[in-house]
Amino acid sequence: MEVSSVLKEDKGVTIVSVNGRIDSYTYNIFENEVYTNIDIGQQKMILDFTDVSYISSQGLRTLVTALKKAKAQSGFIKLCGLNESVLKILKVSGLDKALAIFPDADTALNS
């Protein structure tokens, strides 16, 4: 799995692009990237899941914890580009109600 962050300076928003499966073996890479962004003051994040094929319960936990951390620092977490199976995992867990979900990064950026 690969994760990279790009700061959109004009909007003060960091776009985190994730590629691959977020599962028991890889979630810590994703978690480290997202938490580090918050730690260094980039707590306004759009997580681009266009190339994510699966997210495990550990990944979901990272999303909710990151959301709490970001909100505590007046930031936000927005999700975008979810494919059908990842969206289903979020819906089954009920977390789709707690997270802001957008079709793509541009829509999330301008929302």
């Binding site: 499966r21 599962d23 028991s24 073996y25 094929s53 699966y54 495990s56 319960s57 550990q58 979901l60 936990r61 909710v64 914890t65 819906k91 089954v92 867990s93 009920g94 977390l95 109600k97 707690a98």
Partner: protein
Amino acid sequence: MKDTGVLTLQETLSTIKKIGTILNSSFELSELLSTIMSLSSEIMNAEASSLMLLDVKTNELVFSVVTGSTSSKLKEIRVPVGKGIAGWVAENDKPLIIEDVSKDERFYKKADEKSTFKTKSILCVPLKVKDKIIGVLQVLNKRGGNPFNNDDLTLFSVMAHMAALAIENARLIKAGIEKEKFEQEIKIAQSLQMSILPKKFEYFSNIELSGKSVPARIAGGDFFECIKLNENEMFMLIADVSGKGVGAASLTMVLMTFIRASVSAHPDDLDIKDLFFKINNFMINELAVDLFITVFALKYNVKTFELTYVNAGHNEPIICSASDKEIKLLESDGIVLGMLEDIELFEHKRFLECGDILFLYTDGVTECINENEDQFGEDRLHNFIKKSFDMKLKDMRNSLIEEIKKFCGDRDQFDDISLLILRNKGVFQS
């Protein structure tokens, strides 16, 4: 090394051999680091030496061992990569000989101030493993008054290369021992977790019931529960704690105890929604752990065949009809427990016809993957249930676990697999 002359080839080879023999004699990291230091001072004929390892999290060099007339206070010093002589060597991945540190503005005086040692000359080389800097090694003040020279640099670089490999080797051994200890702890947690799951499934004469949990190598947090509430009803629950390891296994045991106590207190008027709210509050306010659970629970009336259930973020259980093998899913419209204070949950009711199977499971079943990254998936599971519908439930669950193992092949089982299956055998006879 003699400061007055150049080593012959024979002497150099002999010194290198000596370094190799000594470095290979220790696998314990702190002992090895001390050995490298004393060997550095001795071989390079220096008054003192120091070894700094890179802290990759902070990108700072940290004093690990110091020798000579220095102070233990040095261990408190952290040198940012890029700062000072050592920081320059780490950043530029190049060795440095400084004949007179007072004339070099890169010199970082903090170490001397802390230790009262007076540094005059330095020979500093990077410690590298597979092209990655893991630290720096330096010797200070060559005895006899002469500065370090290029021959010293050549020998010290060879020594640093051997030292870096020995450090990496010791780290790997240490990690292996810690991993073994960790896996032992996991096994204990795992066996405790398994020991408290229900094992006998004989509650009512008109239901067949079977359950099993197969833990992954790194214990996860699956659990299930069956409790006879009264003469007509039973309670069933299946849950999955997010996360792995001892933390998840411990939380599982705490939650099972909490659930058993809460359910047993209300044998005739159990409100599952209320139970879930209590679990949610307990996790957030009392446990304060950064984990959540998905949980599905039901009450089943063996006389009316009525199911009352609540689903909090758990994958949808299945009813397979005895008449036409049709698959129906029990909706998940609640949210996982333990993460958010304000949650909404919904209670639903269904009826089991005579012969129907109710199949509860955790996501380790459908989300296990094979070497081609294909998931076992819901379709395979549904087909399996239809195909093996007439089996005894104990055989059905064992057969499914075998089928999953076969599907995964050589790929590790990365999540717990848990199954809890019920069949309505028909009219109740007390």
